[in-house]
């Protein structure tokens, strides 16, 4: 299995994993997030699948024979996610999974002696990092809704930024 096939498999497993947990949870807000995460894995799958067209023809190595797929591992275990927690914790746990993927690809890239494979692994790490960032942004966005404090003393620069013409001067 080469790196891209490995990555594709991991996304498929990820999707299955999130769908499975979504079924286990009863809390609608949490369920909604797992459904979204499952859809995301499909989207990631499609993105990586596009890589195939450009990068697939590198010579495969044995690197991934022994590498553990975090989602397939998770699927085997009864419960790796605590499904009865608040939405932020769900996000946090999902972010941790993405982080592990980033680490996995980065570590393998360091180990790999094949130049093409090294590149594709770095590319995959970068892609997973993007997924992580998206989730972090989303979590931050939702968190603000729960914690946002309006006070006459606060000036939120992100609001002010809208009124300033930072590019011009």
């Amino acid at each position: 299995m080469n790196a891209i096939d490995y990555a594709l498999k991991m996304e498929i497993d990820g999707k299955a994993f999130y769908e499975k947990i979504s079924k286990e949870t009863t809390e609608p807000r949490v369920k909604q997030i797992f459904d979204m995460l499952a859809k995301d894995e499909q989207r990631h799958y499609d993105i990586i699948n596009d890589f195939k067209k450009t990068f697939y023809n590198y010579k495969g190595t044995d690197t991934f024979k022994t590498t553990k797929n975090i989602f397939s591992e998770a699927l085997k275990k009864k419960q790796t996610f605590n499904v009865n927690v608040n939405v932020f914790e769900v996000y946090q746990q999902a972010i941790e999974m993405e982080k592990k993927s980033v680490e996995l690809y980065s570590d393998e890239a360091v180990k790999s002696k094949n130049k093409d494979e090294k590149n594709i692994l770095l590319k995959l790490a970068e892609e997973e990092k993007k997924h992580q960032t998206i989730l972090e942004n989303l979590m931050e966005f939702i968190r603000k809704g729960d914690e946002w404090v309006e006070s006459p003393e606060f000036s939120h620069l992100d609001e002010f930024d809208k009124f300033s013409n930072k590019d011009k001067y």
Binding site: E136, G145, V149, E153
Partner: protein, 1176 residues
């Protein structure tokens, strides 16, 4: 040339023009001026260039005094220096303003004018600050609107350079500084053309320079000081012409006419008003209105207040004027009149046919000044003997200064659409409304105005947005009285506020509610139903709460409600509105990724389609006003007559007489307990089966809403059904039952209790508030019927400490506040005998935002006595309290020493001797006091003894040892009052200092302090703080006799408790630095993980726990004990778990990598130092 139109607030307009002319900006945060400094710092970090092609050199100082000092230095060394401030900040600058003016240096102060604290602090607007500097020699230039800030702000700089006189440009705090308007914006190249480059060169040539040295600031004697002072007169004489000339140039450029005094109204007016500031906008509306009705009135708008030019004044005064009312936005107690009034009177002194001049006060602390009030001023002038020294905007039923309001006016321009939004603190309403203004302002020819009002709670406060849109410029500088559209974004507000107040007949009302149309009859208050029916209101409902939840937006309903607003008001065609909204979403959230954008798109779509038009039944016209209203439990008169009124947002209706008896500003303790705001979505539910009775949940709760109770047999019998208990465990608790009780209506739902619960299966589970209503009577029972049994267990354990009643409860602090658990603990340990001096800041706001007083009393009526003086003096304030208490108790000691020498029975002497023995020990003095109280009424034959007993009885409230505390944040302790704190610690007096270290100025919105660690992004540190965190603890330790501790409750509750107990009992100064997570940190896991985050901080070596106890040295031991273990967790992982650090990686990645590395090294080095100290 057509200038760009842009939507911005007054602070942004001021910062924009100031940046152009500024070389050095010396800044310090203070509301409402901070955004000017923040923008300057941000623009500088982003590389914006001033008109000289340079980035502004921005430096944050330790206080406004420091900012003025640095500004003075920059000026004398040849840089154009600017600062931004308000209120107390401006007062702290006064000594330097005299110097800068005396040395003819062209500095500029931009001031968002704000109330100076007196009987109370107020962050809102009036002219008490700028009037306090009118004698310094600085020129005072007033702008009345956001557009004028843009137009006249530059004149302050241009005139300063040309005249050599420093300028203070001011505009009204909040009304102008925070009001958003669509205005015309200057380009920098236009401004550059106006500059007197020769004057600038001359200024630079005069700078201190060893190439051509001179001496500035000599000490002068009676022989020459006076003459030298008078020698500057001609510079002042030249100012009005210079300003008038620049105004003419700006008028030509903009087409808007400016003069030192502008006249507006009938050229043959018989009555005029003279005023400064935003009131002139509203007054212009009234002038137009009255003149259209055939009256002959006018208005002189004062722009250049100092130097006051008689020439320019009489240039514009119509000869026909017979009567003048001067309006001052300040109060000068004891004066013949307020300053502007006195100036105007002086103008006419000795002049023949002088008009009659009266003066009055308006708008103190942003009190709304409406057209109706201004009409009352003109009406007053109609009288043959108009009232002088009057007030408007209040009902003064004590000294009868107020003018009667005879008519309610609507003077806003025809076709203006007026909208009011009742939002909930966290729902994003304010931000969404700012977007709406921008969308309308940017995409149509319409003018737009936005003003935002807030209540004083940080957690779950109400926000009221006032938006106006129209085809002509909007001059309505007052809150919306009559609305076309009102939206209520929170269902429960229908019971709390009169949300429909002012909705015009046929207007539109939108309610966000989970109720269905069929539920409304049984749910809506009768008063509301009646109003809707009688006034033909177009009534819509929408369930934005569930829509947001289903989309995944959490509590953010703003986009849904904003889309509904565009749909219903049709200010712009809905298809266009949707397009613009989506563009705005991309602008705001594009960088956050497609997911966030899509969610918001979905919100827009659903907001438009989910509106339900309610068919209002005719029967609603007959509804009983009190129908469906909740019962209000019995409460004290003060709460009923004052606090409740204020909490209903109706405090404006309270007359002056409501404050008779409390003219000094005092408020009773414990009013927060009556608020019962019910703001949480979810609250914890106790799971008795798994609970191990550790009380950690109570220890960590920021709002004291979760408490352990111990019940004896009698109490168990009285308990309501469902009041589940379990057998209390632990020594001393035999025979008692244990229960954790939650107050659902006081809880903010932060979830910190759940997070700290150590049982594997959590003994607290978050449940929807509506499922926990059963706990409301249980809480009432627990509080009222269960006795205090804290004497059964020692307080020196985490568990034991929590059986003591917190005397700080239900504050308005943010959910998950890191500060309040510490303050609460102090009150549990020492509350019945403590006095708190509280520095201005978050802790003074959650500590005493009228009418909410969270510091309360125990069953005996004892509790913390609390007071706030200022920001910059709190350590000294506490020391003063200590000195007073010490003096009074020494007097008691002297009396007792005299008493025991008199010929009185031994059994009478004994308690006094015991007291003298243990006077300064809390426990001993308490025990002796109990005995003294029993003998104070004894009849003795010795006359002197009787006198002494009487005096002791009079002051028996000082018998028990008092615990004096100074509370404050890091901005206070590390920066503005560091000198004072240092001095107080050095004094060796028994003052306890508790620093809530949030590592930023939390209350003013998160500006960097010297406690902010390097790499943290904060306001004033837009590209990450470059310098390391000050080690306040180690600095205090150098004295050797100061008790110092650094704590983090979530990392080690026991260490925190121990430190507090040691600090308080230490017979000298003590300093506790308490790590306090804050919403400004952006903890990614949420504030519910606040305690966990403290633990992470310690484990990663970001924060260290230690105690330095000088008493140990006396025992021959090392006084320094390091309580935290060698850091094992990743330092960078900790940084990345908070947005204040991780955001630097996104905005300035290269700086981030470098600063993170240095921060990690510094943290390590700090640990090594502590380790060495602990090794002796």
């Amino acid at each position: 040339m057509a200038r760009k139109m842009s939507t911005m607030d007054g602070n942004t307009a001021a910062a924009h023009v100031a940046y152009a002319f500024t070389e050095v900006a010396t800044i310090y945060p203070i509301t409402p001026s901070s955004p000017m400094a923040e923008l300057t710092d941000l623009w500088s970090a982003q590389g914006r260039k001033n008109i000289f092609g340079q980035r502004v050199n921005v430096v944050e100082m330790q206080s406004e005094g420091g900012a003025a000092g640095a500004m003075h230095g920059a000026l004398v060394a040849g840089s154009l220096a600017t600062t931004y401030t308000a209120s107390q900040g401006l007062l702290l600058m006064i000594p330097n303003i005299y110097k800068i003016a005396g040395e003819l240096l062209p500095g500029v102060f931009h001031v968002a004018a704000r109330t100076v604290a007196a009987h109370a602090l107020s962050i809102f607007g009036d002219h008490s600050d700028v009037m306090a500097v009118r004698q310094t020699g600085v020129a005072l230039l007033a702008s009345n609107s956001v557009q004028e800030v843009m137009d006249l702000g530059s004149i302050a700089h241009l005139s300063a350079i040309k005249s050599r006189i420093p300028f203070l440009h001011f505009f009204d705090g909040f009304r102008t500084s925070h009001e958003i308007q669509k205005i015309e914006v200057f380009e920098y190249d236009e401004l550059a053309k106006l500059l007197d480059w020769d004057a600038l060169k001359a200024f630079k040539d005069r700078a201190l320079n060893p190439e051509h040295p001179k001496t500035m600031g000599t000490a002068q004697n009676p022989d020459i000081f006076f003459q030298a002072k008078e020698s500057s007169n001609r510079f002042y004489m030249a100012v009005p012409d210079i300003v008038a000339d620049y105004m003419e140039k700006i008028s030509k450029l903009t087409g808007r006419e400016y003069k030192p005094f502008n006249y507006y109204g009938d050229p043959d007016a018989d009555r005029i008003i003279i005023a400064m500031g935003s009131v002139n906008e509203a007054a212009s509306e009234v002038v137009d209105y009255l003149n259209s009705k055939g009256e002959r009135v006018g208005l002189i708008k004062v722009h250049l207040y100092r130097p006051f030019s008689e020439k320019y004044f009489f240039d514009v005064l119509p000869k026909t004027v017979k009567k003048i009312a001067v309006l001052d936005r300040t109060k000068e107690s004891g004066a013949l009149g307020e300053p502007l009034y006195e100036d105007v009177r002086t103008l006419f002194y000795g002049k023949s046919n002088a008009p009659l001049v009266v003066g009055g006060r308006y708008g103190l602390s942003s009190k709304d000044t409406t057209p109706s009030q201004i009409k009352a001023v003109f009406d007053n002038l109609k009288s043959s003997s108009p009232k002088n020294w009057f007030t408007i905007g209040i009902v003064d039923d004590v000294t009868n200064t107020s003018l009667p309001i005879n008519e309610k006016l609507n003077t806003s321009a025809e076709g203006t659409i007026r909208c009011k939004f009742w939002g909930f603190g966290s729902d994003g309403t304010v931000g969404a409304n700012k977007d709406a203004i921008k969308i309308i302002g940017d995409n149509t020819n319409m003018y737009a105005q936005g003003y935002f009002a807030y209540d004083s709670h940080k957690s779950g406060g109400v926000t009221i947005s006032h938006l106006r849109f129209g085809n002509s410029p909007i001059r309505s500088t007052y809150l919306i009285e009559e609305a076309d559209y009102i939206a209520c974004h929170k269902q429960s507000y229908v019971y709390q506020y009169d949300v429909l107040d002012g909705l015009k007949k046929g207007g539109t009302f939108v309610l966000n509610t989970i109720w269905k149309e069929s539920d409304l009859d049984k749910k809506l208050p009768g008063k509301m139903k009646k109003y809707l029916a009688e006034n033909d209101i177009n009534f819509y409902i929408i369930d934005a709460t569930h829509i947001a939840m289903n989309i995944g937006l959490g509590a953010r309903i703003n986009m849904i409600m904003q889309a509904a607003f565009f749909k219903l008001t049709n200010v712009i065609p809905i298809d266009d509105a949707v397009k613009y909204l989506k563009e705005a979403i991309v602008h705001s959230y594009g960088s956050k990724g497609e997911k966030v954008v899509q969610m918001n798109y979905e919100a827009v779509n659903q907001g438009i389609n989910a509106l339900v038009k309610v068919k209002i039944p005719d029967s609603w016209k007959n509804a009983n006003e009190n129908e469906n209203m909740p019962n209000i439990p019995e409460r004290p008169d003060f709460v009923k007559n004052i606090a409740d009124v204020m909490n209903r947002q109706e405090g404006d209706k309270l007359p002056v007489s409501a404050f008779v008896g409390r003219e000094n500003g005092e408020f009773p303790q414990g009013t927060a307990a009556y608020e019962k705001r019910g703001i949480a979505v979810e609250v914890p539910e106790w799971q008795p089966d798994s609970c191990i009775q550790c009380n950690q949940c109570a220890f960590a709760c920021p709002h004291a809403v979760i408490r352990p109770f111990l019940l004896d047999e009698d109490e168990m019998k009285k308990a309501p059904s469902g009041f589940v208990t379990k057998k209390a465990t632990g020594k001393g608790l035999e025979g008692l039952q244990y229960r954790i009780q939650i107050s659902p209506l006081d809880c903010t739902g932060c979830g910190v209790c759940v997070d700290v619960c150590p049982t594997p299966k959590k003994s607290l589970v978050m449940k929807p508030l509506e499922d926990q209503e059963k706990e409301i009577p249980n809480w009432d029972f627990a509080i009222k019927e269960i006795s205090d049994k804290s004497d059964r267990v020692p307080l020196d354990s985490v568990k034991g400490s929590q059986f003591a009643r917190p005397l700080l409860e239900f504050s308005g602090a943010c959910p998950g506040c890191g500060e309040t658990p510490y303050a609460k603990l102090v009150t549990q340990l020492f509350g019945d005998r403590m006095i708190i001096a509280n520095a201005t800041g978050c802790s003074s706001i959650w500590g005493a935002s009228a009418p909410s007083t969270p510091y309360t009393t125990n069953s005996e009526g004892r509790g913390p006595a609390w007071a706030n003086s200022l920001f910059e003096d709190n350590a000294e304030y506490a020391l003063g309290m200590e000195l007073a208490v010490k003096y009074a108790r020494n007097r008691l000691a002297d009396l007792m020493n005299e008493l025991i020498k008199l010929n009185i029975p031994q059994e009478i002497k004994a308690p006094f001797m015991e007291w003298l023995e243990g006077k300064d020990d809390a426990r001993s003095s308490k025990a002796a006091t109990l005995k003294i109280l029993k003998v104070l009424d004894t009849k003795l034959t010795d006359k002197r003894a009787m006198e002494i007993l009487k005096e002791i009885k009079d002051r028996r409230d000082l018998l028990i040892k008092k615990s004096i505390w100074a509370f404050g944040g890091d901005g206070w302790a590390y920066d503005i009052d560091y000198g004072g704190l240092d001095h107080v610690l050095a004094s060796n007096e028994d003052v306890n200092v508790l620093v809530f270290d949030t590592e930023v100025y939390s209350n003013t919105g998160g500006q960097a302090s010297k406690s902010t660690p390097e790499a943290a992004v904060a306001q004033f540190a837009a590209s990450g703080k470059k310098t390391t965190k000050k080690d306040l603890g180690r600095m205090a330790m150098t004295y050797g006799y100061v008790y110092v501790a650094q704590v983090a409750m979530g990392a080690n509750m026991y260490q925190t408790l121990k430190a507090f107990l040691e600090a308080e009992s230490y017979p000298g100064p003590s300093l506790i630095i308490a790590y306090s997570p804050c919403i400004n940190h952006g903890i990614k896991a949420g504030m519910g993980k606040m305690a966990e985050q403290e633990k992470r901080a310690v484990e990663a070596g970001y924060w260290h726990l230690f105690r330095y106890n000088p008493l140990l040295r006396k025992e021959g031991k090392n006084p320094f004990v390091l309580d935290s273990k060698e850091p094992k967790a990743s330092f960078e992982d900790f940084l990345m778990s908070e947005v204040r650090y991780s955001s630097l990686k996104i905005t300035f990645p290269e700086i981030a990598d470098q600063l993170f590395k240095v921060a990690a090294e510094d943290a390590k080095e700090r640990y090594e130092i502590y380790k060495k100290l602990s090794e002796g």
